[in-house]
């Protein structure tokens, strides 16, 4: 989840309140904002990516004012009619087709505001832009440019400009090869023959989206008027990013102005700041929440969530401000009602329909196994089903088996899904080599078997394995235990055959057979395996396929 640090002072100034950081930290979770930590000065928060409007203190303050009743209902945003035009050339449509623009005038930015804008830009790049792929944001000092603007694609060596954080002019190709930011995002343009640029009325390159802006238009505390461009591969992401960004600028005191964007096949204006209009059935809200609340109460709750609502008999007309890009369905307002009403004020209730509970047969099967093994003095272990290939096979002195192999493990420790339990138990013995002997351990759990006949390509298989480690641990003891298990499950049609297995000592290895099915392997562990795991104690063991052996 995206994280943000907000100062209590900042929120108090924005909300005209005098709340302590602790008090704020108590209120924010009621908005769905997670508080990570609080100190005297401020709060470290996390917010859900569906609410990109929480990426700035002004955005958080908007919601806070609503829930505190300081300012309720939908904030409205207006933009002046366009006086500037952006022409989108056909050359860019196959590379990075979407672009929107907006102008903000009359800002007086403090140092802190600039920092907040940068943070917001970075977070939106991630949340809505998917790391600049779907949408990337450029914020410029409008006064350093001359209207009107052109968005087009050019060859990599066709133009030169001085990128941000650089002292020299570079061609586009040089930016991608030499500039730090260029190298970082070059993959977004890989394969393209031409690259997108924005030029102004005097022909200057002021942006190379989605890579970097020109140093020419760098924003600082003296910038009064800003130009925002957002380009991308996803129209929705581009439009939504602009809405979230410019409404925040408006709340910072800016006056918004539209830009006319001219495509070869038509013309449109941005930003579009009309509220979205929805219909909410009050019965639907009541039924889902289980709350007997009036339409009037619903309206009030919605307004506390900075929405506008008006009742029309049993239906509500709800208006959402442009930055609420998370609304997909009327159900989203049901949650807003709950938030406005306060989760703390909702009393838990009971389900109405009587049903009878029941455990899965697997749970009962494994419980019986536990009962028997515990009765024989064994202690249960629990290991990960994620496993390491080398430890599962090579160190167990057996050939590599077919296993589910992970494509992208973060940790080298996990490369496959376990196909048998014994390696885990041997590792457990190794872990416990300084604990008192005798040690008798067992595990009952799943392994994963690749299976092409399954839609998911693999099957869970339940296994039971045990290890016995003490100075006189022997095949005999393992065999006694496995026979006791089989007897307890009432299995009669089994026999013991001599077998050969790399993990066990030759001549002291056997399998339990049912018909032609090998259902278990048992024996004394090969000293080579014990040595691999640094175990200086004889070990007898067995592993059995629960479903084949006992069911």
């Amino acid at each position: 989840m995206p994280a943000l640090r907000v100062e209590a002072d900042r929120l108090n100034r924005l909300c005209r309140t005098k709340l302590s950081a602790d008090a704020l930290a108590d209120i924010l979770p009621g908005l769905g904002i997670t508080v990570d930590s609080v100190d005297e000065a401020g709060i470290d928060i996390e917010y859900s990516p569906n609410r990109p409007d929480f990426s700035s203190p002004v955005g958080i303050a908007r919601s806070l004012k609503g829930i505190l009743g300081i300012e309720i209902g939908m904030p409205s945003y207006r933009a002046a009619k366009p006086s500037t035009t952006l022409v989108v050339e056909e050359s860019v449509r196959k590379i990075r087709p979407w672009i929107v623009m907006g102008i903000v005038r009359g800002l007086r930015l403090a140092e802190q505001d600039v920092l907040e804008i940068i943070t917001m830009q970075e977070d939106l790049h991630w949340i809505l832009g998917r790391n600049r792929k779907k949408a990337s944001i450029g914020i410029h000092n409008l006064d350093a440019t001359r209207p009107d603007f052109i968005y087009k694609a050019v060859r990599g060596d066709e133009v030169r400009f001085r990128p941000l954080k650089s002292f020299e002019e570079m061609t586009l190709l040089e930016v991608l090869q030499r500039h730090e930011t260029g190298r970082k995002y070059a993959h977004l343009l890989s394969g393209a023959k031409n690259y997108p640029i924005l030029i102004d009325g005097s022909g200057q390159v002021f942006s190379f989206p989605p890579i970097i802006n020109s140093a020419l238009t760098e924003v600082d505390v003296n910038s009064r008027n800003l130009l925002v461009d957002i380009t991308g591969t996803d129209r929705l992401a581009v439009e939504n990013s602009l809405k979230v960004l410019v409404t925040a600028f408006a709340d910072l005191g800016g006056r918004l102005e539209q830009v006319s964007v001219k495509y070869s096949d038509g013309r449109t204006v941005y930003p579009k700041l009309d509220p979205s209009t929805w219909t909410l059935r009050s019965d639907y809200a009541r039924e889902l929440l289980g709350l007997d609340i009036s339409v009037k109460e619903m309206v009030r709750a919605l307004k506390k969530c900075r929405l506008d609502a008006a009742a029309n008999k049993s239906k509500l007309k709800v208006l959402a401000p442009p930055y609420r890009v998370d609304i997909l369905h009327e159900v989203d307002f049901v949650e807003e009602i709950a938030i406005g009403y306060g989760y703390d004020n909702i009393q838990p209730d009971r389900l109405k329909v009587l049903q009878y509970g029941k455990l899965h047969p697997t749970t009962r099967l494994t419980d019986y196994c536990r009962e028997i093994l515990l009765g024989l003095g064994f202690t249960e272990t629990m290991n990960f089903t994620l496993a390491n290939e080398e430890k599962s096979f090579e160190k167990m002195n057996v050939a590599k088996q077919e296993a589910v192999v992970l494509a992208n493990p973060v940790s080298e420790e996990y490369s496959i899904m376990r196909t048998w339990l014994l390696p885990g138990l041997i590792i457990n013995l190794s872990t416990n080599k300084r604990s008192l002997y005798p040690q008798r351990l067992f595990e009952v759990g799943d392994v994963l078997v690749p299976d092409n006949s399954s839609d998911e390509g693999a099957r869970r298989k339940l296994k039971l394995a045990a290890v016995i480690a003490h100075a006189e641990a022997s095949f005999t003891e393992a065999k006694s235990v496995i026979e006791e298990l089989l007897r307890n499950f009432g299995v009669k049609d089994w026999r013991i055959d001599e077998d050969v297995h790399g993990s066990f000592i030759d001549g002291r290895t056997a399998s339990v057979m049912r018909g032609n099915d090998k259902v278990a392997i048992l024996g004394e562990i090969n000293p080579a395996v014990l040595e691999n795991y640094d175990i200086a104690m004889p070990v007898a063991s067995f592993e059995l396929d629960l479903e084949k052996a006992l069911v």
């Binding site: 369905h329 494509a407 420790e413 998911e456």
Partner: protein
Amino acid sequence: MSKLRELEKPASYVDLSRALNRPIGAVAKAASWLSEKRLVNITEQKVLKASLGAEGLAYLEMGFPERRLVEALVKLGGAPTLEKCRESSQLTEQEFNIAVLWAKRKGWISVDREGPKTVLKVSKYPEKGIDERAVEKISRGTSHLDELGRDLREACLELSRRPSVVDIIEERIHLLEITSTGRTIPVEELGREEVTQLSPELLASGKWREVSIGRFNVRAPTPVVFAGKKHPLQKLVEAVKEIFVELGFEEIRGPLMELAFWNFDALFQPQDHPAREMHDTFYIKSPDRGRLPAPSLVQRVKSVHENGALANSIGWRYSWSKDEASRLILRTHTTATTIRHLASHREPPVKVFSVDRIYRNERVDWRRIAEFHQIEGIAMERRATLRDLMGVITEFYGRLGLTKIRFYPSYFPYTEPSAEVRAYLPSRRTWLEMGGMGIFRPEVTLPLGVRHPVIAWGLGLERLAATLLELEDIRTLYFNDLAWVRSLPTTYLENILRKKDIVGGG
């Protein structure tokens, strides 16, 4: 034994040996046998004992040399010369010197010079001294220093400095005291053969009646044994399952390796959702694609993602890929299994749960593991509500002993309204984030053909366990350290949950 009872006081081996007229060795052997049976207590004492040496015995018979000197002096007229005296005193040279020394020291004689001669004179009547009485006393057999009066004791010590007169030796004596058992046990039982182990033969033959079974020192250390134990986490899993069964839920189970379709798409998670990225989800190398379910269902899921129309939603508005949905992964939540169940159980009521393994592609450290359990459940009723959901969760944690619960708004792509639950742990004085919940969105339920509200939750198990067990490192749960498992009381859960965390006691 009988004698001891008669004596009614502690007695030493010597005493008993005399009283019973048996050798000391025999008494000692019997005493140690009785002691093993806890019929008597033997205490050892150290005593100082005086006995007469060779000189001492001679003094007893003939008198102390100084007395014999004075008697000789009297016979010789009271003041003979030294030479005269030495000749006629019948004392040896050595005795004579000692006699002169002691007689002088006791003030019985004086040694004067008269011209060239040395003259011995009797100066005092030699009363019988304490030292002489001491020798007599020792000779009569009272030899323990402790039993003598103070004067006599000192005299003995003084005499021990005179060569071979009195020897003081340290002697250990054993005192037997009868125990309460010893006082009451029938005397006839004492004569039996003793066995250390009751054997099948003794039982079969009935001979056990004739033998006595050796007594053990019940306080002696014994070898340590450990009970076989369930894994601590398994105990919590069972407690959780028990509660949901009590609440009328049926347990379900599903694939660990899962189609992205069931794990994400059917749950209305857009295909470019960050959770689906490689660094959050384990993808499978081979096979990397599975088979999607019925085309009609796939089509409905596709359309709800793309335009939402069939659920009266606006959808995510992007182009949905069948290939992306058929990728194979390790399930990131058990909700994948729940949604499979729901797809084939579309009519209410449905109440199912699972407590099973899920996977996240995390770098493992003390706070995070890549594989853990989720406590999952859903309930579908014609009129299931958010309040019902809060009710189930409150009841669940209440039965675990966590009675202080708070709900907060939260967000999941597949639920609306959504909530997060926190529980207060009085034993740790902290609120703990327990998990998420909500009502499945219409975009989730309608493509499956489910037309009624489904309340759902996914709660954490390991974090609860780690907090309850006060583990700093969550990996401890899967480390299987026997010392730790053996040290946890079988009742650990009850100890933690039911006692500490029920306000006002359970």
